[in-house]
């Protein structure tokens, strides 16, 4: 240890006394995983590298064999294309994944890209040498040759491919499983438990139930979930014998909801109680719709308000009025920008994916259930990776070892 320090000290102070050594292990290769027109240089680090010592890169295009002289390399003119301090361009951990590492840890790695000053063409061999300088000393490396070519697959992104394939496979498997048995276990969504309570209270007070499906169209996942939940609510409304009001902003969503409500009444054994005008269209205009629904809330004082689906700025105006009439309010939305307002103004809120899960839970539609299940498996996997990964990284950090990089690199993003 002591000896090394003395050696380093000598190197730093009496550098001139020591002869400059040429770079060791110098080699050149086509830059891996790129679009071509670029070469990469690799050489080993050596003691004594400092900012006072510089490295120059000299390159020359090798002439094609047809007009090659006796010594192809000597015959061409080398050109300086780069210069940098000798203590830079090290390979740092995290630069490359272990499965696609062009240079070892601690080696020097420099990429030479084609430039107007020196264009690099694909398929043509180039000769490269390094010049190391410090003070008035100079030393050349040996001359090495390589040619550039474009690549067909970026191996550094192998983990990305694997992730996509594994997730796709999981998804297909869970959807197939859900087709065979749509009643796979899904946990009950807490907010749904409040539905009974809310409708029960409406019945006691003899007031209607108000249900909104949001501003989305029938192609939005959140609107689909909202119509599924409407089916469940309508069934309970029919059983309890109270009234339902569903004001709409989209004629297509209205038509779908009419069918759903009708069917729910039949399922509940009360087809006679179904009223065509439970679903009605107001206007597609955001604020006029809001003003009209607020009017309904103030006049008819529904005892339970449901806000399901996607919402924009109107959410606040709706839930505020609802809260002022003392109704039980249950919301469910994936519009994350409105969630804080729903949480503070409603009694129960289904947050984001909970809305989709409620839709899948109630409908048992195989694609919905299967997708939810597939995503769940994905989440479980990611949670595992986060916890186990942190543990490995910590142990690795304490034990000063890189051995866990073999696992950790799989979950990093490489370019």
């Amino acid at each position: 240890m002591m000896g090394l320090a003395v050696f380093l000290l000598l190197l730093l102070t009496g550098g001139e006394a020591l002869a400059l050594a040429p770079p060791e292990g110098f080699r050149i290769l086509d830059t891996p995983n790129d679009a071509g027109k670029s070469l990469s240089l690799v050489w080993r680090a050596s003691p004594g590298e400092s900012k006072d010592r510089t490295v120059q890169v000299w390159i020359a295009g090798v002439r094609p064999p047809s007009d090659m002289g006796s010594d192809p390399v000597a015959a061409v003119a080398f050109q300086k294309v780069a210069e940098f301090p000798a203590n830079t361009r090290y390979v740092k951990p995290g630069d490359f994944p272990w499965w696609a590492r062009p240079a070892g840890k601690g080696d020097h790695y420099a990429k030479l890209a084609s430039s107007p000053a020196f264009p690099i063409e694909d398929g043509r061999p180039y000769a490269v040498k390094l010049l190391v300088r410090e003070g008035d000393q100079e030393v050349w490396s040996e001359v090495v040759q390589a040619s550039a070519r474009p690549d067909w697959f970026n191996t550094a992104q192998m983990n990305n491919v694997l992730f996509v394939l594994a997730f796709t496979g999981t998804l297909l498997a869970t959807i197939a499983a859900a087709r065979r048995n749509p009643h796979v276990y899904l946990r009950r969504i807490a907010g749904l438990d409040a539905v009974d309570e809310a409708i029960g209270r409406s019945t006691e007070m003899g007031r209607p139930v108000l249900y909104l499906t949001g501003s989305g169209s029938m192609s939005d996942v959140s609107t689909i979930a909202a119509t599924v939940i409407l089916g469940d609510v309508a069934k309970k409304v029919a059983q309890y014998g109270t009234t339902l009001q569903v004001p709409h902003r989209d004629p297509i969503v209205m038509a779908v909801c009419q069918e759903i409500v009708k069917e729910s009444y039949s399922e509940a054994g009360r087809p006679d109680a179904f009223k065509e005008d439970a679903n009605f269209f107001i206007t597609d205009d955001q604020f006029s719709y809001t003003a009209a629904v607020d009017g309904i809330m103030l006049r008819e004082k529904p005892a339970a308000n449901f806000f399901m689906g996607s919402y924009f700025a109107e959410s606040l105006l709706l839930t505020e009025t609802g809260a002022s009439t003392g109704a039980i309010q249950i919301a469910g939305t994936d519009s994350d920008h409105q969630l804080p307002f729903f949480v503070t103004t409603c009694d129960y809120t289904l947050i984001g994916e909970e809305l989709y899960a409620a839709g899948a839970y109630l409908s048992r539609e195989p694609v919905l259930v299967g997708t939810l299940r597939g995503q769940d498996l994905g989440k479980a996997f990611i949670m595992g990776v986060l916890v186990a990964g942190t543990a490995l990284a910590t142990i690795g950090g304490l034990a000063q070892t890189d051995i866990f990089a073999y696992a950790l690199d799989l979950f990093k993003d490489f370019k």
């Binding site: 006029s288 947050i351 949670m383 910590t394």
Partner: protein, 259 residues
């Protein structure tokens, strides 16, 4: 002070009037509000049509196409841009019920491309990169040692890395539907809920901040336009708006209808 050009003064009056009409919604939904709301939609569409025409059809399609054809009329490549144009035209078949299905081909093209490009990029930026930044060594190394490790004010400190990890995992667990939230699951899910609520609170604060900023911006304009050089536009128009609302209210009451 030099007099302002007529069009600027006129503009100020129009802008102020429209602004106040929209604010009249605060009183209640009324014709002045509806008028300016529809005006807004109409002007937006008109503006979009004009700009889209000049940008898409002239600048991106017609001019390069004409240029290419002029330069090399015999080369097939010069007519390449006709391909996307015809796919675009297919989209418009939606309006002709008999051939509306043709629009599906265009949608298939666009949606297929969009889905394809999104998959690897989403995995890279929103999944792998996020995992990478969450998985950190918690070993107290580097400068500062233990006190830096425990420094809450430093976003990257060890203690914050631990909190971040707990937060990410517990919130993910809250949105995990294959396990009942009982026993240890209950603890994890409750932790997730409190993390969610703290973050929603922050979002709430930021949203309030945003809305207030918009109001401040509009009020600043109204204040500018209330000056003498604009002919006291804001003050006069405020009076006009209030009077019209009162008149409307009166008319509605007399008719016995509901406002």
């Amino acid at each position: 002070m030099p007099a302002l050009p007529t069009e600027a003064v006129l503009g100020a009056w129009v802008a102020t009037g429209l602004t106040l009409f929209i604010y009249s919604f605060l009183y209640k939904d009324n014709p002045l509000f509806k008028l300016s709301e529809h005006l807004y939609v109409g002007v937006s569409i008109g503006y979009s049509v004009v700009l889209a025409w000049h940008t898409i059809f002239l600048r991106l399609l017609w001019e390069p196409l004409a240029q290419a054809v002029r330069d090399a009329p015999s080369e097939a490549g010069s007519y390449m841009l006709l391909l996307p144009a015809s796919i675009g035209l297919l989209m418009l078949t939606r309006f002709v019920p008999r051939i509306a299905w043709l629009s599906r081909l265009a949608f298939a093209f666009v949606v297929g491309f969009g889905s394809g490009v999104a998959i690897p990029r989403t995995v890279s930026a929103a999944i792998l990169k996020q995992i990478e930044d969450t998985v950190q060594s918690l070993a107290p190394t580097g400068t500062g040692g233990y006190s830096a490790f425990m420094d809450l004010a430093l976003p990257q400190s060890g203690i914050n890395a631990i909190i971040l990890l707990i937060g990410v995992v517990s919130v993910l667990f809250y949105f995990f539907f294959s396990v009942e939230h009982t026993g240890p699951g209950r603890v994890a899910a409750r932790t997730g809920v409190y993390f969610l609520m703290l973050a929603f609170g922050a979002a709430f604060g930021y949203t309030v901040m945003s809305r207030m900023s918009l109001l401040i911006g509009r009020f600043r304009d109204l204040i500018t336009f209330s000056g003498a050089e604009y002919g006291y536009a804001t003050l006069i128009l405020l009076l006009v708006t209030v009077l019209s609302l009162a008149g409307w209210e009166l008319a509605v009451r007399r008719k016995g209808g509901k406002a």
